[in-house]
Every structure is written in C-alpha cells, then in structure tokens.
C-alpha cells in the first residue's frame, strides 16, 4: 500500500494521468484546426457549440477507452464546478479578442486624442499571430506545470515560436493567423493520435468490474 500522501504530488499525478493518453491533444487539435478554419468568417459563431460537443465526445472517449485500462479520473481545476462555464467564457473571450483586433485594424486606430487604447489594440492587431501563439503557449504551459509534463511544455514552446514564424510569412494577417491555428491543430492531432495508439498498445484492458463487486 502506498503511504506517500503528499497532496500536491497527488494533484500533479492526477493531471499527468489525465494527459497521458493523448486524447486531450486530439481534442485541442480539432478545436484549433476548425477554429482556425472558421476564423474571420460568420460561421465562427458556431464554434462554441462545436467545442461543447467536442468536450462531450472527449469525456465519452475517456470513459470508453481509458477507464477500462487505467481507470477514469476527472481532475478538478480551481473549483469543483464551473469547468464548462470556464471553457465557454474562454472561447467567447477568444472570439471577442480576435474580432475586436480585426475590427480595430480595419477601422484604423488613430481616432482623436486619448485614442491610446485603440492605438494599443491596433498595434496588437498587427501582431495577431504572435498574440495567438502566446495565448496557446500560455494555456499549454499552465497544463505542463500542473502535470509536470515536458511534452506539454514542448508544445508551449513550439506554439510561441510558431506565432513569431507565421508572423514573418508574406501573407495577410488573417491568413497568417488562420494558418498558425490550423498548423498547431494539425500538430496536436498527429501527436495526440500517435500518443493514443501507444497508450492503447501499452495499457491492456483490465478485467471487468463486476456488478456485484461491492460488499
């Protein structure tokens, strides 16, 4: 029986197990790929419901393929509830940010005195791929820190660099941003799929849990 009861170590281990199977990468990969493809189009409004459906499919896949091998665990984030609400808010904020930056750029940003905010937004709009890369890097760095995962930290570094590299491409700002998100998504889908196949092969299905197991 294990006697090590370091609560923070438990938390880190739970997150590490959660990310072990590669399903999170696949889910995030699809979200970024389709999010990138829909960016700057009116269809972007259906991105939030698509994300929610994806999150449900992700939970179902966890229960179907992972629970029978290593067990099922759902880590708690800051609070026990409100993870779904956090996801929706993040998606909405992301959408608002992108559209605000785009609109500011289209309308110009030197509007009268005291237009420093718009000027700032305008400047940020011109660096949109870098900002998107940094947002993605921040999300993955947070998860990497929670799980103590070098793999997730690697993605964070890759996305931060990707933001800078895509900004240097001789394309419109919109295309740079779209391509960045779609490329990051594609990388995650491929890496996640490889990881998931490895997980299925290296973790055999455990004997079934009997319905009368409880005393």
């Amino acid at each position: 029986m294990t006697t090590d009861m370091d609560m923070q170590a438990i938390k880190r281990r739970v997150w590490a197990i959660y990310f072990e199977d590669g399903l999170f990468e696949i889910f995030m990969g699809f979200a970024l790929f389709f999010g990138g493809a829909m960016l700057f189009r009116p269809t972007f409004v259906i991105f939030a419901p698509i994300m929610l459906s994806g999150a449900l499919a992700f939970q179902k896949a966890k229960k179907r393929y992972v629970a029978s091998r290593v067990g099922y665990v759902k880590p708690s984030s800051e609070g026990r509830k409100g993870r779904l609400a956090t996801l929706v808010i993040l998606v909405l904020l992301f959408g608002v940010l992108v559209f605000a930056l785009l609109m500011a750029r289209q309308k110009g940003y030197t509007i009268g005195a005291g237009g420093w905010l718009l000027e700032g937004i305008g400047w940020a709009a011109d660096q949109l791929p870098i900002i998107l890369g940094l947002i993605l890097a921040g999300i993955f760095a947070l998860f990497a820190q929670r799980a103590g995962s070098a793999r997730l930290a690697g993605y964070a570094l890759l996305f931060a660099l990707g933001g800078v590299l895509f900004r240097l491409l001789k394309l419109s700002l919109e295309d740079q941003s779209k391509l960045l998100l779609m490329s990051c998504g594609a990388v995650l889908i491929v890496a996640g799929a490889i990881r998931f196949i490895w997980f299925l092969r290296s973790h055999p299905i455990l004997p079934e849990e009997g319905p009368d197991e409880r005393a």
């Binding site: 009861m5 938390k11 629970a67 067990g71 099922y72 708690s76 993870r83 079934e208 849990e209 005393a215």
Partner: protein, 114 residues
C-alpha cells in the same frame, strides 16, 4: 464518535481529547487515502482508485461502503458500452470532514515536541 471525558484538566488532557475526537471513519490509512484522492479530483472511478491506492478490489469496495454510509462520498453507477463504471466523488460533508480531520491532526502533530 463520542469523545471520552478526559480525567485530568491540564493542557495534556486537552490534547489527548483532540486525538480521541479524531473522526474514526477517516482515521484508517485506506479510507484516508481514498478521501485524499477524491478531495483532489472532481471524480474518479473504482479502477483508478484501486490502481492508485494499491488496495484490492474487495478492500476498496468495503472502505467505499463505509465512506458512503457516512455520507462522505457519493457513488454513481453508469454503463459505458454495457460495462459498469463506478464513479466516486467526495460529498460536501466528506470534504468538510476531511478538512477538519486534517486540521485536527496537524494541530496535534504540530504541538508535539521534536
């Protein structure tokens, strides 16, 4: 659990009373481990807890029943592809009891001389 009345009225007797008042439902290594895991997660299934705690199926089942009877955990059964999945999560009562147990234990141990 009811606390035995301490005979002496000194500070030592008070500390002993704290130890005697520790929640016995939690005061077992196995149940403490189960609650510690559930305290840190939103929910976990039977297989996950079995792997992480190193308890046998029967042992975990028995401790799970004790914790459920005390109202410290909520057990939910569901079927995924016709296979049973037993999900466990800590209840508000269990969370409060675990926190109180941890604080009592830390207080007692913190006051102990090196």
């Amino acid at each position: 659990m009811s606390a035995p009345k301490a005979g002496g009225q000194g500070s030592g007797a008070k500390e002993l009373e704290t130890i005697a008042n520790l929640d016995r439902t939690i005061h077992s290594p196995a149940r403490f481990m189960i609650l510690a895991y559930l305290y840190m997660v939103e929910s976990a299934d039977f297989t996950f807890l079995m792997r992480e705690t190193g308890l046998t199926r029967g042992n975990l089942s028995s401790h799970m029943s004790t914790l459920e009877e005390a109202g410290y955990i909520v057990v939910q059964k569901e079927f995924v592809d016709k296979k049973p999945l037993t999900l466990l999560r800590i209840s508000d009562k269990g969370r409060a009891a675990f926190r109180a147990y941890r604080e009592s234990l830390m207080r007692v141990l913190g006051e102990m001389p090196e």
